[in-house]
């Protein structure tokens, strides 16, 4: 079960087998190709090969005016689209020195946190599926449908919203949105207990994920891993607390950090439990926002022509996968000269070859699942 039980290699002359976990596979999350060198069942080397979903987002945005890029940012990480457009809007507003009204900030935070709950819930379902438990997947998705319904009342779309624009949001909250969201939150918290019983404390699940793929603090920082994967290794770093943007400094919430309850600090179980606890924190944040949301006009700061000044800027944002960054260079025209997106899943994926050395093929899938990658973001 651990690395010490490997066969003594010096006595038998064996050859490495190269196994291809191809772009089409039930449990690589998207089109990812992994070339695995194995010795029997034990993995010696992994090469991830990406690029199957590349859509030239960054080059294409050099020909589009700033307000037309927002739908394209949604499509990069399709599971947290609000985060992508929010981060982009922050970058553009920084360059144009726009002051956005309070109400817009509150709406953006509510929507971002709802999106975070949806993304983490998706992760829980899919992680269970990777490990073999098929039932929690359907339960979690049924609850996620409710969040998507809320978004449908808000923007009209279920997955790709085009809602957060540079300078504000596209329109205000509907009449019954707040009551419906609070209803949903009240319904959702007990559901988490069910998933807890079925997955988190299940002996087989613990055996499959505890002590597997342990990521040390220093190595995580050196590889550039961010987000829940970093917090699971014991590093208390969350951009919402350490470098607050928007109104996060006024809100009161905790940042869950992995403590190695079932195994070592930084194993796959920790990565799972950190995301599980983050859902609870997001629920807390949303309730606080609803108590203190001010009135106002959401279109007050929408610019007529988006033409930032010359220069460049980098904006940092805590998305559900890690630190999302946008680096925009502008020449004073209405199209950006260069737009680069720092994708968190890309850096998280880079630590996979290090983590899976010496484990078995089933563990590779567990580790890949616990890193929570989305290929749309990696390939852009």
């Amino acid at each position: 079960m651990s690395k010490e039980n490997l066969i003594d290699k010096s006595s038998i002359n064996t050859d490495d087998m190269i196994l291809n976990m191809g772009p089409q596979h039930p449990s690589t999350h998207g089109v990812l190709r992994l070339k695995i060198h194995t010795d029997g069942e034990v993995v010696s080397k992994i090469e991830p090969i990406i690029g199957y979903l590349h859509r030239c987002f960054e080059k294409h945005s050099e020909n589009l005016p700033y307000e037309q890029i927002v739908p394209f940012t949604d499509r990069c990480d399709y599971l947290s689209s609000m985060h992508m457009s929010h981060a982009y809007s922050i970058a553009v507003e920084k360059m144009m020195d726009i002051e956005i009204p309070e109400r817009v900030e509150y709406i953006r935070v509510i929507v971002s946190e709802l999106q975070r709950i949806a993304s983490h819930a998706f992760f829980i379902g899919v992680f269970g599926l990777d490990v073999g438990a098929i039932t929690p997947f359907t339960w979690v998705f049924r609850d996620r449908e409710r969040i998507i319904d809320l978004f449908e009342t808000l923007t009209g779309a279920r997955l790709l919203y085009n809602y957060v624009w540079p300078g504000g949001v596209s329109h205000d909250l509907p009449e019954k949105f707040i009551t419906r969201t609070i209803e949903f939150l009240d319904y959702f918290e007990p559901q988490l207990i069910e998933v807890d019983e079925l997955l988190t404390t299940n002996k087989i699940f613990i055996e499959r994920t505890a002590d597997i793929g342990v990521l040390d603090k220093d190595i995580a920082i050196n590889y550039g891993v961010t987000g829940p994967a970093l917090r699971a290794s014991g590093v208390d770093f969350d951009l919402r607390k350490n470098e607050p943007y928007s109104i996060y400094d006024k809100l009161d919430f905790d940042v869950p950090v992995g403590r190695g309850e079932m195994g070592t600090v930084g194993d796959s179980w920790d990565r799972y439990i950190v995301r599980f606890l983050e859902i609870k924190e997001s629920i807390k944040i949303i309730r606080q926002c609803f108590k203190s949301i001010p009135e106002g006009d959401v279109h007050a700061a929408l610019p007529k022509k988006v033409r930032p000044r010359k220069g460049s800027t980098y904006s940092r944002f805590e998305s559900s996968r890690g630190e999302l960054g946008y680096y925009i260079i502008s020449d004073g025209k209405n199209v950006p000269t260069r737009l680069k997106m720092r994708s968190p899943a890309f850096s998280n994926l880079s630590v996979l070859p290090y983590l899976s050395e010496g484990w078995m093929i089933s563990d590779v899938i567990t580790i890949l699942g616990s890193l929570d990658i989305v290929l749309g973001e990696i390939d852009r």
Binding site: M1, L19, H25, E41, G128, L129, G132, A133, R142, M360
Partner: protein, 365 residues
């Protein structure tokens, strides 16, 4: 009186050639077994789909009906779904990969099918519904169910696919290891009732009590037997050989159409066999529930007979199949070495200890 015996005796008056007689006496029971296997597959697949759907808060097949009966709006539609699937599988294109070993690939499903088939020969369905009267019943069943491993290894190797090879190797190690707890725990009823023949064991149970409640050790033995039986048939949580999210479909990946349906058929037949054997050996076979603890002697004469006995046996087997499906949809799957750990370090010590303890118990009580 077994089927074979009865056919032979009824047709012997016709003065036929002996070989021809033998041929008929062998084919008809064969067809009956095949029919049984198919019916079981159809019912079990539908049951599995519906049960898994309800556990996952969804509905399962709803649209396909038979003979105009589409089922109600809620819950009982889709009865004809399995039959439609079977017809589709038979009509599918048969693909054999280019570099695959053609002969082995064609041979493998038949070996697995034959393994389940001949095991069925020794399994009685009621007091009188018996294909052939073996006096080494349990031993025969045990032996014949091990033949299936060869088919699995052949299937995995000949597909010329590394993933199938993985599945086949894992399956081989798993099935062979889990034979041991099954064999040891099956020895317990033999010790207690004193005979290898199935009739002996069931009669002992009907006269005394169901073996599961005979002593705490047989209680544990039942669970060990049942869980190892699940491992034998490659169901979750032991479905590493055909792990859906890792190996696509494991050793069955390259098979399509009719051959795949043979695999499928034999998997459900194996499930039925394990449930049937567990019900004979531990749950009182074809006795009615009145015989669980025989309060009044002679109770076993009530609610008995060939037809009713069949009904009771089927009920118990279906309950056990339901439990197997219940397990499948609740638990994640174990990794290969954890599976092996479970077998060699948990089940086998417990089974051996059980055997010793049962022996002591018999002597004392």
């Amino acid at each position: 009186m077994s089927f074979v015996d009865s056919i032979l005796s009824s047709l012997s008056s016709l003065e036929m050639n002996y070989t021809l007689l033998l041929l008929i006496a062998v084919t008809i029971p064969g067809l009956i077994i095949f029919l049984l296997m198919t019916v079981n597959a159809i019912v079990a697949v539908y049951m599995e789909r519906k049960i898994s759907a309800f556990m996952q808060d969804r509905l399962g097949p709803m649209e396909v009906g038979i003979f105009g009966f589409k089922g109600g709006k809620r819950f009982w539609g889709g009865i004809g779904q399995t039959i439609a699937d079977a017809i589709k599988l038979l009509a599918k294109e048969d693909i054999i990969p280019k570099d695959a070993d053609k002969f082995m690939m064609i041979l493998a499903p038949f070996i697995i099918f034959i393994a389940s088939f001949i095991t069925f020969v020794g399994v009685p369905l009621s007091q009188d519904f018996l294909i052939s009267n073996f006096n080494i019943g349990i031993l025969y069943i045990l032996a014949m169910s091990s033949v299936g491993v060869i088919g699995i290894i052949l299937a995995g190797w000949s597909s010329n696919n590394k993933w199938s090879l993985y599945g086949a190797m894992r399956a081989a190690s798993q099935i062979i290891s889990y034979e041991i707890p099954i064999a040891i725990t099956l020895l317990l009823p033999v010790i207690i009732s004193g005979g290898l023949d199935v009739h002996t064991i069931v009669d002992w149970q009907l006269q005394n009590r169901w073996l599961i409640l005979h002593s705490p050790f047989t209680f544990i033995a039942f669970f060990i037997f049942f869980v190892s039986g699940i491992a034998e048939t490659n169901r979750t949580p032991f479905d590493i050989p055909e792990a859906e999210s890792e190996l696509v479909a494991g050793w069955m990946t390259e098979y399509s159409g009719f051959r795949w349906s043979l695999f499928f058929l034999s998997e459900y037949t194996n499930m039925l066999i394990i449930s049937l054997v567990a019900s004979f050996v531990f749950l009182g076979g074809w006795g009615s529930p009145l015989t669980i603890i025989n309060l009044l002697p002679g109770d076993y004469m009530y609610l008995d007979g060939p037809i009713l006995g069949f009904f009771w046996l089927l009920l118990k087997a279906i309950a056990l199949i339901f439990i197997m499906m219940w397990f499948r949809w609740t638990f994640p799957r174990l990794r290969v070495d954890q599976l092996m750990y479970l077998c060699w370090k948990v089940f086998i010590p417990f089974a051996i200890f059980n055997m010793l303890a049962v022996g002591v118990w018999e002597v004392l009580f």
